[in-house]
Symmetry: C2
Subunit: 218 residues, 2 copies
């Protein structure tokens, strides 16, 4: 599949490299043309890996991934061009983290809105699916780093798009039974609001190779 | 131990009944004198169970539990009287849920504040420990309802108070190794912000007998 990735940070590059290794073709899109990180990645990645702008990535992808910081995701998809994303599935893996000088990390938006919902409102002709934002980038593409069963979550309006994303997550190594559908795109609030807890756990364990396993009766 | 419980709802009554069964003496405190729920509970509970006002519960307890809704907890402890809580440990099990007409549930406070922090600021001479708010009331006092290991979390400024609360949680049946200390009372934000996710899981599973097990490498 041809996949466009909006955002050239660690998360974008990690997803891009995994997708290449699975035989997909990827355009890693940056805010500016001739972004060094994107070009370096493309050079390392062989014939299936390309670098371009947000718009290039959106145009290229049959499926597109938003891997920008959640606080700038809206402007990123505006730059990418809503028309280039129309009819496509957009996987949103972002978290809207705001780092304060006092060391506290907060979210914006939060509580009565989420990045997932904002993207869906800005892109009414695109099928936004929120997922993967609840784990570190290395765990995203290698769930076996964390022992035993542990879960990922999906939120989105379109069941076919969620099924498509689930299939891609299974390619990443996530067992289908560990991918929980939490409902419509408004469920993005719930998974984005896990971040403060995730950051506390990171501090507690001293690393990022952990994830949630939901234990349930019956 | 003599324990005061502020709040006569399901959570308060469940905790009160468990504490009586463990041999503690409990005053269940309500906003108004002669609260039917509190009086009925006290009658059912034998000589160790008493009913009274928030102030009676605060005065009675060597340790006190806030089991009111998080949106009214500040006014509840003001009614209880900060001077009656001075020098004591206050376990805060609340969540500040706001139920909207559109069916969405939000939190107030959220993100840059929490009920736990507000209580600690309002009660500078009290040792506030946030815990238990991440599970249903039945699981609080009977963790075996959920199979396998699963965790509880502590947040608070005072290590001795957290150790005291941990010991009480062990009496409830929680294995000591499954009680994670997430840090100061500002970590209350993280655990309160789990509620939207918890509510989504409740909808997904159709029941409340579930909890988080943190899987971690190494």
């Amino acid at each position: 599949m041809r996949i466009g990735i909006i955002g050239t940070g660690t998360v974008g590059q990690t997803l891009a490299t995994k997708l290449i290794s699975l035989g997909h073709e990827v355009t890693l899109g940056s805010r500016t043309k001739d972004n060094a990180a994107a070009n370096d990645w493309a050079e390392r990645s062989g014939p299936g890996g390309h670098a371009g702008t947000f718009a290039d990535a959106a145009e290229f992808g049959e499926l597109v991934i938003n891997a920008t910081s959640g606080t700038v995701s809206l402007s990123a998809v505006e730059l990418a061009g809503p028309e280039r994303l129309a009819g496509k599935t957009l996987i949103d893996v972002s978290n809207p983290l705001v780092f304060s000088p006092d060391g506290q990390v907060t979210l914006d938006p939060v509580n009565d809105d989420s990045v997932g919902e904002r993207l869906q409102r800005a892109l009414p002709d695109t099928k936004v699916v929120k997922t993967l934002n609840t784990v570190n980038n290395e765990v995203m593409v290698d769930p076996g780093r964390v022992p035993g069963p542990h879960q990922l979550f999906l939120a989105g309006q379109d069941d076919e798009a969620k099924a498509q994303v689930k299939a891609l997550l299974v390619e990443f190594g996530w067992p289908a039974e560990d991918i929980l559908d939490l409902g419509g795109i408004d469920a993005a609030r719930a998974v984005e609001m896990l971040m403060p807890f995730w950051l506390r756990l990171m501090r507690h364990y001293g690393h990022t190779d952990f994830n949630y396993s939901i234990r349930t009766a019956g």
